[in-house]
Amino acid sequence: MGFLEILFSAGTLSQILTGLSRTTILFIVSSGLSLILGVLRIPNIAHGSLYMIGAFTAYSVISFLGGGTFAFFAAMVAAPLVVAAIGFVMERGFFSYLYDREHLMLLLLTFSFALILGDLVKIFWGTEFRSVEPPAFIQGSAEILGLPVPYYNLFLLAVGPFIAVFLWLVVNRTKIGKISRAAAVDAEMVSAVGINVGWVFAFTFVLGCFLAGLGGALIAPMTSVSLGMDHSLIMEAFLIVIMGGLGNVWGALLGSLIFGLSQSLGIMVWPQFGIVFPYLAVVVVLSFRPRGLLRSVW
């Protein structure tokens, strides 16, 4: 087929929809990373591992509860909470004592946590692939323009905007969100005003981890849950965060859209080098807007 025919065919739509559902996951995970990087200025390498733990935990919860709709939603709540708890321990137990260290050392610390968490997953869940079925009410595929689109993908597409709006409300309309943003710019000032910056940081970090866990839980029915999930995602998440603007939730959404769509379209247009397109997109964006598309917090 010619290029234009490819672009405007039903296959395109199907690819786009798949790309967009992946975008939702990317967005959820990246927004968490963006908040952590924006407010705490920590490049959280362990973010991918937390995402992976979210996926495995969701698997366990669903298996334990015997599958079904209730199990699914229970997992969607439980898994992020578990990951958030881990994040709380990481922040309160380690990071909070080391904020005055050399910036890069904090990166190194998150790297070591990534190593530890990765092996903990291996210890608890072994090395096999796991798979999770989507709950009954969204199993199967719809037919759109003659091509099958899994209902689960549509579900993710619907969920995405909700989470985006919810996050935006938290960050911009709640008191704690506003304080976090202030702390990102000038932590000393916030502290001087009498607010316990430590808890602000803890809150933000825990929220970021919650999002990573949620992303992992949500993707579980869509892909095989396995070791190594963390590696591929973490780089993509970082690139999206930088592309979108540090600490900017909408930026993470925009970045995820660009990344997800360019990958889907890329694979369609040039299957062999499809995966190159997202990186090309990032390079192009950063060349013109090195601080990201939308405003960074710092």
């Binding site: 890069l104 990166l107 190194l108 780089m235 690139l239 995966i275």
Partner: protein, 309 residues
């Protein structure tokens, strides 16, 4: 004055003697330690001495390796030329990437470099016909005089020693001092007449070149290349080596890389959950040795000076 050369020379002599009584496998590992040490030291020129957030250094390692590998397998040119071609390609790429990225600072520089580097990786990963794709290139024909394990080892030892010496001279030169000044205070450097961007670019090209040398050395000892050599997680590992060993010392990265490679090779055999172990060790080191292993040693034994001679 002269005695400070004694330590490296003794070490060199020791290393040269090793093949006489160590089995082949361990010689291979020592060679890997050496070239990885060179790789980490080259990164540290940019990050420790230059303060440049070189977050994707492995690209130059990979390009150096692939450059040499492709030349050896396809070009029919004499081997010495091929061995040099890799590092030159890496330096050229470093120049191009540097020109694009150097106007940014710190984190943004690092991120743009990661995206450019990932682009290169993705291309190499998918270009089956040229680079072998995700299989890499096995069985590279290495010239006879360095094809044997001992030959390869001595070649790597010699090249690494020369390159480390060169890097040491560069670090202790006016250029190195200017670079440190830029690291500590780019505004003031600018104000006293140092063209910051130009110096940073030079540092990047040098770092890229020696990273590429490390890559070509890997081809010699391993006779293969694969795309993971330039994947971002390896860049992180090399960065970790620098931080672990001590970013502000010259030999810190070598110490860090030795620790990491040796631990991984010899300890992971006995410890099933090797990453967990490494993660815990690193965490402890970060908490208790904020300047890295060598940095800590220097501060402890030489409190007046900040750095190793």
């Amino acid at each position: 004055m002269k005695w400070k050369y004694a330590v490296p020379l003794v070490l060199l002599a020791l290393l040269a003697a090793l093949p006489q009584f160590l089995p082949r496998f361990h010689i291979y590992i020592i060679a890997i330690v050496l070239l990885t040490g060179l790789l980490a030291t080259s990164l540290n020129l940019a990050i420790g001495f230059g303060g440049i957030y070189q977050f994707h250094h492995a690209v130059f390692y990979g390009v150096g390796a692939y450059g040499t590998a492709l030349m050896l397998t396809r070009s029919g040119l004499p081997a010495p030329l091929c061995l040099v071609a890799g590092p030159i390609a890496a330096a050229a790429l470093s120049l191009v990437m540097g020109i694009i990225c150097v106007r940014l600072s710190k984190l943004y520089f690092g991120m743009l470099q990661i995206s450019l580097g990932s682009l290169v990786w993705a291309i190499v990963y998918r270009w089956y016909s040229f680079t072998g794709g995700d299989n890499g290139i096995p069985g590279i024909p290495v010239p006879e005089w360095i094809a044997s394990p001992e030959g390869a080892y001595y070649y790597i030892l010699a090249v690494t020693a020369v390159c480390m010496y060169a890097l040491h001279r560069i670090v202790r030169s006016p250029f190195g001092k200017a670079l440190e000044g830029i690291r500590d205070n780019p505004v003031r450097s600018e104000a006293i007449g140092i063209h910051v961007r130009l110096h940073q670019l030079a540092a990047l090209v040098i770092a890229g070149f020696f990273g590429g040398v490390a890559g070509s050395l890997f081809v010699v000892i391993d006779t293969s290349v694969f795309p993971d050599m330039m994947f971002w997680t390896y860049s992180l590992e090399v960065l970790v080596m620098c931080l672990l060993g001590g970013m502000y010392t010259f030999f810190g990265p070598l110490v860090g890389s030795s620790i990491l490679v040796l631990l991984r090779t010899y300890v992971s055999v006995y410890i099933p959950y090797w990453h967990l172990f490494l993660g815990i060790v690193l965490t402890l080191l970060i908490i208790f040795l904020p300047d890295g292993v060598l940095g800590f040693a220097v501060r402890r034994f030489r409190p007046k000076e900040g750095r190793l001679a």
